[in-house]
């Protein structure tokens, strides 16, 4: 690894660390309590920040899957896998924080809110993607099969979105609308939200970069090992 590479790595890591610390400071200390919801509301900022990485990751999986099928360049596959893993992680955290927030506020663990439902379906697609890769009888082919799923998922997403929203549209809202990210009157809250989202998105990007690099190295090691062992 070149010195420049290491240097840019350090800068990236530092940026992520700083933004996370700042965001956490705001979330935990600086921002005032929500008038109605109390201190529990703070987890809301983190919850919402999970959305962007989750959907960004999904988009990346879809696009890189498509490119992988088309070009068969293994780097697209690395990107797709890494993105899927991180996407699953952020999706899980998003769902979990959502539930934690919902229980004291709404009194229920789960609602069939369209966004939640969509996220859950997304989670299942992510999980299926990773399971498919691990259960394939031939790892190379597993990458291709997963790519098919990736492509299907992303083209399907719009339809899932529509379907889920229409579904909940017919029934009266079970709980008060979550406020869609707005409904935060206090400018301080909006700042906090913005900072939090930025911090987590940087975290996601940084982790993605690391993970892709790891995948590439693993691939190289594997290839070298086989070359050495089969040299006759």
């Amino acid at each position: 690894m070149s010195r420049e590479g290491t240097q840019s790595d350090n800068i990236a890591a530092a940026a992520v660390a700083i933004s996370m610390l700042v965001a956490l400071y705001f979330v935990l200390i600086a921002v005032p309590n929500d008038a109605y919801q109390g201190p529990v509301q703070r987890i809301f900022y983190i919850h919402l920040s999970m959305w962007l990485p989750t959907f960004a990751a999904f988009g990346i999986v879809g696009v890189s899957s498509m490119l992988f099928l088309w070009r068969r360049d293994r780097r697209w596959d690395h990107l797709a896998t890494s993105s899927a893993e991180l996407g699953l992680l952020f999706c899980t955290l998003g769902l979990a924080t959502g539930c934690i927030w919902a229980k004291p506020i709404w009194g229920t663990w789960w609602t069939w809110d369209p966004r939640l439902t969509l996220t859950l379906v997304l989670w299942m697609i992510y999980a299926a993607y990773l399971l498919l890769r691990s259960l394939a009888t031939n790892p190379d082919q597993g990458a291709v099969l997963a790519a098919i799923l990736g492509v299907s998922g992303v083209v399907d997403l719009y339809l899932v979105n529509r379907a889920v929203y229409w579904w909940r549209g017919i029934h009266p809202a079970v709980v008060v609308n979550k406020g869609g990210g707005s409904g935060l009157q206090d400018p301080m809250m909006r700042i906090t939200l913005g900072l939090c989202m930025l911090a987590f998105f940087l975290l996601f990007s940084w982790l993605l970069r690391l993970r892709v690099r790891t995948a590439r190295i693993e691939d190289d090691i594997d290839r070298l090992r086989h070359e050495v062992l089969s040299a006759v």
Binding site: A136, G142, S152, D156, V164
Partner: protein
């Protein structure tokens, strides 16, 4: 392509294996789900559309795996892959066969469903005559593609539903919503958006399947 259709249907006629399992499994699910909802409870009627589609989709998922699995005996699939047709056409042929099989089984399941839930016979058939085949088409497309995908994994039986069902969410929701509305005699134009969704889904997955089937069956 017609040749494949002919052959598959002929095999099916001989053994009636897939049709039988589709129908029996579907009936079983209808039964079990009816147990799940107490018939005297008003919830029973409201659950009817859901019950129907769960039965169709789950029995379909398991049944469709069979058609592709059968090709593995004697490596007949190689015979198909050696045909001078491209893989996309092969996909369409297989999807068509699955569509026909599912539709035939539905022709038995839907009357049974009407019977269990005490619905007006002809009226129900008339109302559902559009949505059932449209949904089945999309289902056949996605199931054909992913049964080919799941055949190359170690846990075939689990993989197919796991892969298909999250993706088929729009299809399923559309089917149930439309069925609910239609059964309560809602005019068609109120559910037209669901129809459009279903048709979009059908077209989308027929295209995706047509384009990616060659990757799904490669080794």
């Amino acid at each position: 392509m017609l040749a494949i259709l002919w052959k598959d249907l002929l095999v099916e006629l001989r053994t009636k294996e897939t049709l039988a399992s589709l129908f029996l499994l579907g009936t079983l699910l209808l039964l079990v789900l009816s147990f799940a909802f107490d018939p005297s409870h008003p919830l029973h009627e409201a659950s009817a559309p859901g019950v129907l589609w769960v039965a169709i989709i789950f029995s379909g998922t398991i049944g469709i795996n069979r058609t592709l699995l059968r090709e593995r005996e004697n490596d007949c699939f190689a015979g198909l892959l050696l045909a001078p047709i491209d893989r996309g056409t092969l996909f369409l042929a297989k999807a068509a066969v699955n569509f026909i099989l599912l539709t035939v089984s539905e022709m038995f399941l839907v009357p049974l469903f009407i019977f269990f839930f005490n619905l007006p016979f002809l009226a129900t058939i008339a109302r559902l005559i559009l949505i059932v085949p449209l949904t089945t088409l999309g289902f056949a497309a996605i199931a054909t593609l992913f049964s080919a995908v799941s055949l190359q994994t170690r846990a075939r039986e689990i993989m197919l539903p796991l892969l298909m069902l999250p993706l088929a969410t729009p299809l399923f929701l559309a089917a149930v919503q439309t069925t609910t509305a239609l059964l309560s005699a809602t005019p068609l134009d109120q559910v037209s958006h669901w129809f459009k969704l279903t048709v979009t889904f059908d077209v989308l997955f027929l295209v995706v399947g047509w384009l990616t089937f060659e990757y799904a069956v490669a080794e």
